[in-house]
């Protein structure tokens, strides 16, 4: 019984911590499948987390907050698209710029709205993302331990399905992948490369914003300076780890989430393992898995290459 309890705790915590990563990682999947490298996920996620917590606090409605997180990061996504698509920028450089702009704007505005503090005020429980299944699941059972989650968790995993369907089962998805693999060929067949890339990069911002929002409105209950600290980069790594595929990214995010859960779990059992080594484990594990099982990663063929339409 105790064993089942522990397992329930680990699985539940895994899902909780995988969610923000998963949203953001899916953002990366969208952008990079259309051929635009998005290293700015970290900055987008931070700005989204801030916008969500702020709008959530002032409106008292978590859904408005969640949406605001997506829109705010969508704006950064638009900037990235403007640079990468319209001005054929170096995409890595533009992404780095986003990583300065996002946290910069978030902290600047936070000081403005919250009396000079770099954190937003705590949200009371009723202003956080709701747990709809709270009352449906029987008290004290394994199922409840695993599935008593914030609604954002279920949204993230639904989004995996949706994006998988979009990319591999629809005409638009085929176009997106064509633009990422061979934009010139797609262009010749009448696909509007710019429009597809704009769409994907803005969506990638929106999803990263949802990732940030699920951090500040569900996992934590406010935004603060170190809330995101590197999760955007981990989501980026998870996307590469998952070979640029939505379901691959999901598996990678679950591994990171599980490692986080194990850290908390083992930390709670009183086993004499230094906490630092536990925290280190997921990163070492990732490298080992990449060395042994995954092999060479294959990005979309035109990922990172600006497409300049012939003007003649």
């Amino acid at each position: 019984m105790a064993m089942l309890n522990s397992l329930g705790f680990i699985l539940g915590t895994t899902l909780m911590y995988a969610t923000p990563l998963l949203f953001t990682s899916l953002g990366g999947v969208m952008s990079e499948n259309s051929g635009v490298v998005n290293i700015g996920l970290e900055g987008m996620m931070t700005f989204g987390a801030f916008a969500a917590a702020t709008v959530g606090y002032f409106s008292g409605n978590p859904w408005l907050g969640f949406l605001a997180g997506g829109l705010a990061s969508g704006f950064l996504g638009f900037l990235h698209a403007l640079a990468c698509v319209t001005f054929a920028a170096n995409q890595v450089v533009s992404g780095i710029a986003i990583n300065f702009l996002g946290p910069g704007l978030a902290l600047f505005l936070s000081r403005k709205f919250f009396d000079g503090a770099t954190m937003t005020y705590n949200l009371p429980i009723e202003m956080k993302m709701p747990k709809y299944f709270n009352n449906m699941l029987p008290e004290g059972t394994f199922v409840r331990q695993v599935l008593n989650q914030d609604i954002s968790v279920f949204m993230a995993f639904t989004l995996v399905l949706l994006i998988w369907f979009l990319l591999y089962r629809t005409k638009l998805g085929l176009r997106i992948r064509a633009v990422g693999e061979h934009p010139k060929a797609a262009d010749t067949l009448g696909v509007n490369v710019s429009r597809i890339r704009y769409l994907c990069v803005i969506l990638s911002g929106v999803f990263a914003g949802f990732g940030g929002a699920s951090m500040s409105l569900a996992v934590a209950s406010n935004f603060f300076q170190t809330l995101i600290s590197g999760q955007g980069f981990i989501a980026l790594a998870a996307m590469i780890f998952g070979k640029w595929k939505p379901h691959g990214a999901m598996v990678a995010c679950l591994i990171f989430g599980c490692a986080q859960a194990m850290t908390i779990f083992i930390g709670g059992t009183g086993l004499r393992v230094p906490q630092e080594f536990l925290s280190m484990a997921p990163y070492i594990l990732t490298l080992v898995i990449l060395m042994g099982f995954v092999g060479r990663a294959v990005a979309p063929a035109s990922d990172g290459i600006p497409y300049i339409k012939d003007e003649s």
Binding site: I39, G43, L79, A83, F87, A88, A89, N90, V92, V93, S94, I96, A97, I98, N99, F100, L101, G102, P103, G104, L105, L107, F108, R111, K112, G116, Q225, T226, S229, G230, F233, I234, L236, A237, I240, F241, P274, E276, F277, S279, M280, Y283, I284, T286, L287, L290, M291, G295, R296, A297
Partner: protein
């Protein structure tokens, strides 16, 4: 004259200057929107950097590690690698420097170089792990260096808390005096020193800061990196691999070895930055809750410096000044958020990413002028 300006602005330096100007305008606009007086904020910032000799010394101190992490990223860029891992290499360098600095008891003439080389070498090894993973397993260096950054951070935190090394919670013991590179560190507090500085108030002001020889080392490293990249066969070989891997291989260059070596050198630079920070400014290491950002700032510096060694020197100094001057605007009477600096840095990098925009503007102006003539 017009021709000269046109040529300047269509070149890389022109794009950089243009971007910096835009960043100041954007920063001003955002400050204005947020209800601050941008002129006043910028005045405080400039005053904060150039107002007193002490402040200028502080800017240089702040710039020192950034110049070197910038060099690390730029070196990797030039050899075709993207070193996000300068952050982790910095951390490993500072950890090893703190350990060597505390546990070894040697005369300064041996101790200082040993601590420096130890930190740099540790950073180099850390960097070469990413190089090896790329060469042997094809793991993209972006993903491996991100992982290595976190492993370094937690390893660092473990070392800080080691029994015997922790002075109190979250802070390690100070390094020995013999490993410290702060200029005149003892003399300036001695009887003689005090009287001497009493007679020279400007110098007293400057040496109130932990001014150290780290900046000189940074300048030497700038020259060294420039020399290696542009004047040696080693630099040529590494750049050839970055330029065209297949051609380099065809030309008889061992590509895999070159990748590992490039990352080793980039890592050494990152580690050197960390070591100098401990030896010159911090003197100990403390638990990190999150990345400090030296490596990430290094990426921006490399980009603003156009990946050239001397470019990193200037971009690093600009950063140091912005960081120190930026912290000043938070205090009364201005009370503006210092994060405006990050927004400005982001804007600079953003416009550097799109040189096409600037060239488009120039072309558009020419066209308009042409129409006017006709």
């Amino acid at each position: 004259m017009g021709k000269f300006i046109k040529r300047l602005f269509s070149g890389t330096i022109g794009v950089t200057i243009f971007s910096i100007v835009i960043a100041f305008i954007m920063g001003g606009a955002i400050l204005l929107l947020a209800g601050y007086n941008p002129v006043q904020v910028y005045m405080v910032m400039i005053e904060g950097v150039f107002g007193k000799p002490k402040n200028m010394a502080w800017s240089v101190i702040k710039a020192t590690p950034l110049i070197i992490t910038g060099l690390s990223v730029a070196f990797a860029f030039r050899t075709g690698l993207f070193n996000i891992g300068a952050e982790g290499q910095f951390i490993v360098g500072s950890t090893v420097a703190a350990l060597f600095g505390y546990y070894l008891h040697l005369p300064p003439l041996i101790h200082i170089p040993l601590v420096f080389v130890g930190g740099a070498f540790a950073g180099g090894c850390w960097g070469s792990i990413a190089g090896y993973l790329k060469a042997r397993f094809g793991i993209h260096e972006v993903i491996s260096t991100i992982m290595l950054n976190w492993i370094a951070l937690y390893g660092h935190n473990y070392v800080v808390g080691m029994p015997g090394f922790a002075r109190r919670t979250n802070i390690s013991c100070d390094i020995q005096d013999s490993a410290c590179i702060t200029l005149f560190k003892n003399w300036k507090f001695s009887e003689v020193g005090r009287t001497w500085f009493g007679a020279h108030p400007i110098l007293r002001d400057i040496f109130k800061t932990p001014l150290n020889s780290g900046f000189l080392v940074a300048v030497l490293l700038v020259i060294l990196v420039w020399y290696i990249l542009n004047r040696t066969t080693l630099g040529y070989r590494l750049r050839a691999v970055g330029f065209n891997k297949d051609a380099a291989e065809f030309g008889g260059i061992n590509v895999k070895k070159s990748i590992v070596l490039s990352m080793f050198i980039a890592g050494m630079l990152g580690g050197a930055a960390g070591a100098l920070q401990v030896m010159g400014v911090a003197r100990n290491i403390s638990t990190l809750a999150a990345m400090e950002g030296y490596g990430f700032d290094g990426i921006a510096i490399a980009l603003i410096g156009n990946n050239s060694a001397f470019g990193c020197l200037f971009a690093g100094l600009l950063f140091g000044a912005l960081k120190f001057g930026g912290a000043r605007i938070q205090s009364p009477p201005v009370r503006a958020p210092m994060e405006i600096i990050n927004i400005m840095i982001g804007t600079i990098v953003f416009f550097i990413a799109i040189p096409r925009l600037i060239r488009m503007i120039i072309r558009w102006r020419e066209k308009r002028k042409g129409d006017g003539d006709a």
